[in-house]
Symmetry: C2
Subunit: 226 residues, 2 copies
C-alpha cells in the first residue's frame, strides 16, 4: 500500500502470489515425499492446480531458482519458498475460544508441521478452565497478555461466538498481537498495521449454493418438501 522502504530485500510480492506460495509449498512437499528431486513448472503447476505460466511468474518474484531446460530442484525451491513465507521457524500462536471449532483447531497436527506452534488455549468460560485439550490446559482469557509477552506471540486465532469477536480482537491488539485469523462470522475492525484474515464457512457454502442454483436453472424445487 504505502511505499515501503526500498532498503533491504524488500521485494514487493503481489498479494495474489503470496496466497499461492503456500499451495506451491505443499505441492513441493508432496513431490519430495514421493521421491521426486526435480520438476518442471508444468508438473508443479498441475500438482498445485494452477496455470504453469502463472506459476513461473509467481516464482520469478522470489528470484531465479530454476534452470532452463531442466526445471526446479524440489528441495531447494521448497526451502526458498518456506524462507520467503517465513515458515522456516515456528510461529507461536494462541487460540481464543475453545468450543467445537477451537478444540478441533487445537487438535490439528497440520499446523505444527507447517511452522506454527499453539502455545496457549484461552476461554472466558470458567467451566472450561483446567480442561486439557491437545495436551494444553485451557486458561482464562485474562492470561492473554502474560502469554503473548512470555512467548512473543504475534498471531492470534479467534474461535469465539461472533458477539465476542470484536472484544477479543481489541484485547489481542492491545497485547501486541499483529496478525489475526478470525473464524467468527462478523467483521472486526483493527488498526491499519494489524492484519486480519477471516475464514467463514457459511459464506463458502453460500457461494456454492449460488452456483448450484444457477446450474439447476431457477428451481431446486422438489427436494424442499422431501
Amino acid at each position: 500500500m504505502t511505499a515501503r522502504t526500498s532498503s533491504e530485500t524488500a521485494r514487493d510480492i503481489p498479494e495474489a502470489t503470496v496466497a499461492r506460495l503456500p499451495v506451491y509449498l505443499r505441492a513441493l512437499t508432496t513431490l519430495s515425499e514421493q521421491g521426486t528431486s526435480t520438476c518442471s513448472s508444468e508438473e508443479l503447476a498441475v500438482a498445485a492446480g494452477v496455470n504453469s505460466a502463472k506459476l513461473r511468474k509467481d516464482l520469478s518474484y522470489l528470484g531465479s531458482y530454476g534452470t532452463r531446460g531442466v526445471g526446479y530442484d524440489v528441495e531447494y525451491l521448497r526451502y526458498q519458498i518456506a524462507r520467503e513465507i517465513g515458515v522456516t521457524q515456528d510461529w507461536p500462536v494462541v487460540i481464543v475460544g475453545i468450543g467445537n471449532l477451537g478444540q478441533a483447531l487445537a487438535n490439528y497436527s497440520g499446523f505444527r508441521s507447517r511452522g506454527f506452534r499453539t502455545v496457549a488455549l484461552l476461554d472466558a468460560d470458567p467451566a472450561r478452565r483446567d480442561e486439557v485439550v491437545a495436551g494444553l490446559v485451557v486458561r482464562p482469557f485474562a492470561d492473554l497478555e502474560q502469554i503473548v509477552h512470555d512467548h512473543a506471540v504475534a498471531i492470534g486465532v479467534i474461535a469465539t461466538p461472533a458477539v465476542a469477536a470484536q472484544d477479543v480482537a481489541d484485547r489481542m491488539v492491545a497485547c501486541g498481537i499483529t496478525s489475526i485469523l478470525n473464524f467468527a462470522p462478523t467483521v472486526i475492525s483493527v488498526p491499519d498495521q494489524v492484519d486480519v484474515r477471516k475464514v467463514d464457512l457459511s459464506i463458502e457454502l453460500q457461494i456454492l449454493a449460488y452456483h448450484e442454483q444457477r446450474k439447476t436453472q431457477g428451481a431446486p424445487s422438489q427436494e424442499v418438501g422431501a
Copy 2:
C-alpha cells in the same frame, strides 16, 4: 463466460460480487435484529466492511432495490439477496469424515440458520459407526449414494485426511454431487461442471506469517529459542 441464454433472469453476476453477497446478507440480518428498518449504502458498507461505491455497484447487479434519497429497506433487500444466492430454502448437505473438524462442523448451528441442513454424517472408520454426533448417527461411507439420492443432495463437505480426499470427491461426483467444500489440504480434480471451494487454514496462517515477517523486517529472531 459463454453467452448465457438471455431468457429467464440469467443476469451475470461477477464472481467477486457473489463472494460478497453473503457478507451483505449477514450485515443486513444484524441490522434487522437491531431493529433497523432502513439503511443507506454507506451504513451497510460500514457494517459489511467494504467501500460504499463497491456495495452499490454489487447491489446494482441484482436490480434496483434502493430508493434514491432514502436508502434500502433492510428486510426487502435481505430477502432479495437471499433469493439471489439461493438460501431462501434449505440445501441438504452431507459431511464426509467425522473427525475433529467434521464433528465441529456437524455441531455448528450456524449452517442451519443460513439455509443449510446437514442430512448425513459419513465416515469410513467402522469404529466411528453408530456414534451419534449432533443428533445424527454416523453412517458408513458406502451409504453415500443412497443418501444423495434420497435427499437430493447437491452439496458435499470433505473433512477427511488429504490422502482420502480425491477418492471421496470422485465418489461424490459419481453420486451426482455437483458442489464440494474441501477442507483437506490437497488439490482435488473434478469435472468442469462441478464446483469446488477449498478452505485451508494452514494457508491462511502462512499468509499471515508472510506479512508478519515483513513487519518485523527480517528477524523474528528472539522467540525461536524461547
